[in-house]
């Protein structure tokens, strides 16, 4: 026990683990807010079971001197709230893990388990104060002390945090936090623990949001004023966020009877002049497919937030995956153009979701934002955002008498009118139609309409977001990723410290930016990294660039790659000879 490192510098992985409904959330909120206010870079992510009570859920909080928003395997400090928690994260515990556990509350533990446990008697202390519920503030107080947060600061925060509660409850929480500080002081002295992380005062002013909020904020910035959805993890966070904001931002938010209704409502809303979106996950999206096809033939704008989780079927409802790329790409019968965006960072999620509305309106097509459970549930501090630069353009025309919704044009885009605005009539049809929008079986008209819809692709490709190259451009080996893996690949790549390796991140996966082939051509070896078992993006790249993908690094157990795992797998893969 004596050899546990007591001094942790620059980068701490703290894990709190307990059963569902047991207050991890409260500890986490209090602590992360305080850490961020105090000027630390903070990243948080959770993994949880598909149940409301019981089981074991864990939250990882990473506190660091520089921004490191990715998952670690390593645990520096573990607070298991019950005995089951210890088992749940067992694989991540090493002899370097400080485990702060309530030994009495745990009951008997075997010798192996007992090793390295530092006693943190919070249960008795909580019931002395007034009940088990106060354990949350004790734990928060203890951890705040370890990170050197001023006790006065904590006290001010708690007053604010619990301000809606009865005075007695606030007072008890204050007492509990103070108790946490007291226990922490004892432990720190006895064990000689010292945490040394650089603070940056400007971080206190940073924005602190998760992926679901980033998508929601982006939607508002893109002018979203209609949302129809059906709850499904992990997409529900966006539904909840936008419903909370609905009144303030003039959004109609409706929980539809099913996903089929949701997608059809969205299209009705766009038709009448709204900027509408749906948020869903794989199984729900499968039900929406017919509606995507309808958007295709109607040339209706559509914005679909598709938060991925492992399938097929119900799969793993609360876990993560990147398995729905091909689903989004091929969804809906018939040929029609679409755009698929896949943000890797929170800022990207904000801006891309905003741009999804602009692109959908401009090209009159479905635009997808592909996230996943890991992405929507993870949060960290980011600098301020700028929205002034790109606001909604007037993409709806006032119609004339002779208005034809599907006028054949050179770039394939027909000016879009809405009913009741102008002198024309707006006719839209799921059947193949003529320029006026009326049903037709004229086969020449059919070809003209297919070609018109396809022609939009030319400008869509020009408008594509380019991939981001990390590293120098004289690389031999190119690591390729998309979506939520960005921070973890980037961190693992920097740990490799190899000049001959670069990383190319795609935040638009369809249609691909015209430079894609050139980026790939330059590499002698191409490695695609993604969260599915079929290497879906790798096959898309092969088809698009006609170039070989030499290796793939895939993960599909429902968890995101950790930095350690990514580093190991990169090392294993990079030097494999063909």
């Amino acid at each position: 026990m004596g050899n546990i490192p007591r001094k942790i510098k620059d980068d701490v992985s703290l894990v709190i683990c307990g059963s569902a409904g047991k207050g991890i959330q409260t500890v986490e909120t209090i602590l992360t807010q305080l850490l961020k206010r105090s000027g630390f870079h903070v990243f948080g992510t959770k993994e949880y079971m598909s149940r409301v009570r019981g089981g074991s859920n864990s939250t990882e909080i990473r506190v660091s001197s520089t921004s490191r928003p990715s998952l670690l395997d390593r645990i520096n400090i573990l607070v298991p709230l019950d005995k089951a928690a210890l088992k749940h994260v067992q694989k991540r515990i090493s002899e370097n893990t400080l485990i702060l556990a309530d030994k009495e509350h745990f009951g008997p533990v075997d010798e192996k388990e007992a090793q390295g446990l530092i006693d943190f008697p919070f249960s008795q202390a909580a019931s002395d104060i007034g009940g088990a519920i106060y354990a949350n503030s004790i734990v928060a107080g203890l951890l705040a002390q370890l990170f050197g947060i001023d006790q006065e600061e904590m006290s001010l925060f708690l007053d604010q945090f619990f301000s809606e509660k009865k005075p007695e409850v606030i007072e008890n929480n204050q007492k509990a936090a103070a108790k946490g500080y007291e226990i922490a002081q004892r432990i720190v002295e006895a064990e000689g623990i010292a945490i040394d992380i650089e603070r940056h005062p400007h971080i206190a002013e940073d924005i602190f949001i998760n992926g679901a909020e980033a998508v929601g904020i982006g939607a508002i910035a893109g002018g979203c004023n209609f949302l129809s959805s059906y709850p499904m993890s992990p997409s529900t966070g966006v539904l909840v966020f936008l419903s909370e904001q609905a009144e303030k931002f003039g959004i109609i938010s409706e929980q539809a009877e099913d996903e089929i209704s949701a997608v059809n409502m969205m299209l009705g809303a766009w038709y009448a002049g709204a900027r509408a979106m749906v948020t869903t996950s794989g199984g729900g999206f499968a039900l929406m497919e017919e509606g995507i096809s309808l958007a295709g033939v109607m040339e209706s704008p559509a914005v679909i937030h598709l938060a991925q989780r492992p399938g097929p079927g119900t799969g793993l409802p609360t876990r993560t995956a990147q398995g729905d790329l091909e689903l989004a790409l091929y969804s809906g019968h018939g040929d029609f153009p679409r755009i698929i965006l896949a943000p890797g960072r929170l800022e990207e999620a904000v801006y891309l979701t905003r741009d999804a509305f602009h692109l959908a309106a401009k090209f009159q097509i479905p635009v997808f934002i592909l996230t996943d459970q890991y992405f929507v549930d993870s949060y960290y501090n980011i600098p301020s955002l700028d929205f002034q630069s790109k606001n909604r353009e007037n993409d709806i025309i006032e119609t004339e008498d002779d208005y034809r919704r599907y006028r054949i044009t050179e770039n394939g885009i027909s000016p879009r009118g809405v009913p009741g605005f102008g002198k024309g009539l707006v006719v839209t049809d799921s059947d193949e139609h003529d320029e006026a929008g009326h049903i037709t079986e004229d086969l020449d008209m059919r070809v003209a309409m297919v070609d018109k819809r396809k022609r939009k692709l030319v400008d869509m490709k020009k408008a594509a977001f380019p991939p981001e190259l990390v590293g120098t451009d004289n690389y031999d080996t190119l690591l390729i990723g998309w979506g939520s893996t960005y921070p973890v690949i980037r961190e693992a790549w920097s740990l490799l410290g190899r000049e001959d390796v670069a990383f190319l991140h795609f935040s638009q996966v369809h249609p691909l930016h015209p430079d894609t082939s050139a980026y790939l051509r330059q590499a002698k070896k191409r490695i695609v990294i993604e969260g599915n078992s079929d290497a879906q993006f790798a096959s898309l790249l092969r088809r698009h660039t006609k170039q070989e993908i030499h290796q793939t690094i895939l993960k599909y157990n429902g968890a995101q790659f950790s930095v350690e795992e990514m580093t190991t797998r990169l090392k294993e893969t990079i030097d494999i000879k063909e």
Binding site: F208, I209, G222, G223, N225, I252, M265, G268, V427
Partner: protein, 287 residues
């Protein structure tokens, strides 16, 4: 207003000669004209089927969507622009079969739209299979031994769900059909009009004659606000009642339950996001 304002001029209509759909189209135009609703203010929403082609046969804004899916977009269109008159119109297969869940939930939501269903008790467009309202024993190329499941009763469903307006009309009776449509379109809230419509090509059982002998008109003694009485009428076995069977004008319309018109009365198509408020929101996410 003259009903010819809705005429399309010379067009190719895909209905069979003698079909009940023609009378419904004519009655709808007449009802709209009497209510002074202009083509520009009207949105015809439909699904797929013979009946669902009706939006192409009168001058109006049109959203001809997918089979069974007229009600969700109709609800959204009305919510996004309450100044429009929105009519969702399709066949019995479309509205009662494929779109059943939307029917139930649109009745609950109560948007201010009119839902017209051409009930020919058969699938016309796909050439004569059973529909949800086909009678027991009705033989088709698929139901070769005759329909063996209980027909769907849209009137009873509507009353059970407290749909705010429930009526039945007969396509063989122009004047009455028009009057019922006028009442339905004028009603604030969701209005179902189930129109018994002979299909001369695929339904040789439920003919004009059959409908005539199997229906009767409600008289003044019937109080459509009496839900229990209306339910009794809906369950009658021998003859089907025609007229306004149930009406509840107390229910709030879906679009009035949103707050989007409180500060801003303008149409959605010109609305821009409030970036100032968004910045405040983001700043609040900092602490």
């Amino acid at each position: 207003m003259e009903s010819n304002i809705f005429d399309m001029g010379k067009i190719d209509i895909a209905w069979c000669p003698g079909c009940g759909n023609f009378a419904i189209l004519k009655a709808l135009k007449a009802a709209l004209a009497e209510l002074e609703i202009t083509p520009h203010n009207l949105v015809m929403v439909s699904g797929i089927g013979q009946a669902a082609k009706i939006p192409h046969y009168l001058r109006a804004n049109v959203f001809n969507g997918l089979h069974g899916r007229a009600l969700p977009p109709a609800t959204a269109i009305k919510a996004v622009n309450p100044d429009l008159t929105v009519i969702a119109e399709s066949g019995d297969g479309d509205m009662y079969g494929e779109g059943g869940n939307h029917l139930i939930n649109t009745m609950r939501r109560n948007p201010d739209i009119t839902n017209i269903v051409h009930n020919n008790m058969v699938y016309g467009l796909t050439k004569g299979q059973a529909s949800p309202t086909s009678r027991m024993g009705f033989k088709t190329p698929v139901q070769v031994r005759g329909v063996a499941i209980e027909p769907f009763n849209p009137i009873a469903l509507g009353i059970a769900l407290d749909a705010s307006f429930v009526a039945r009309a007969f396509a063989g009776d122009f004047e009455q059909m028009k009057e019922i449509l006028i009442k339905a379109i004028s009603h604030h809230g969701y209005a179902l009009v189930d129109i018994l419509q002979p299909c001369v090509s695929f339904n040789k059982l439920n003919t004009y004659e059959w409908f005539k002998t199997h229906t009767y008109y409600l008289d003044n003694a019937h109080d459509p606000t009496d839900r229990t009485a209306a339910f009794g009428v809906a369950l009658e076995e021998n003859k089907m009642a025609l007229g306004v069977i149930y009406q509840n004008s107390e229910r709030a319309c879906f679009e009035t339950t949103t707050t989007v018109y409180e500060d801003n009365k303008g149409p959605f198509c010109n609305r821009k996001p409030n970036l100032e408020k968004l910045n405040d929101l983001i700043t609040s996410k900092g602490r």
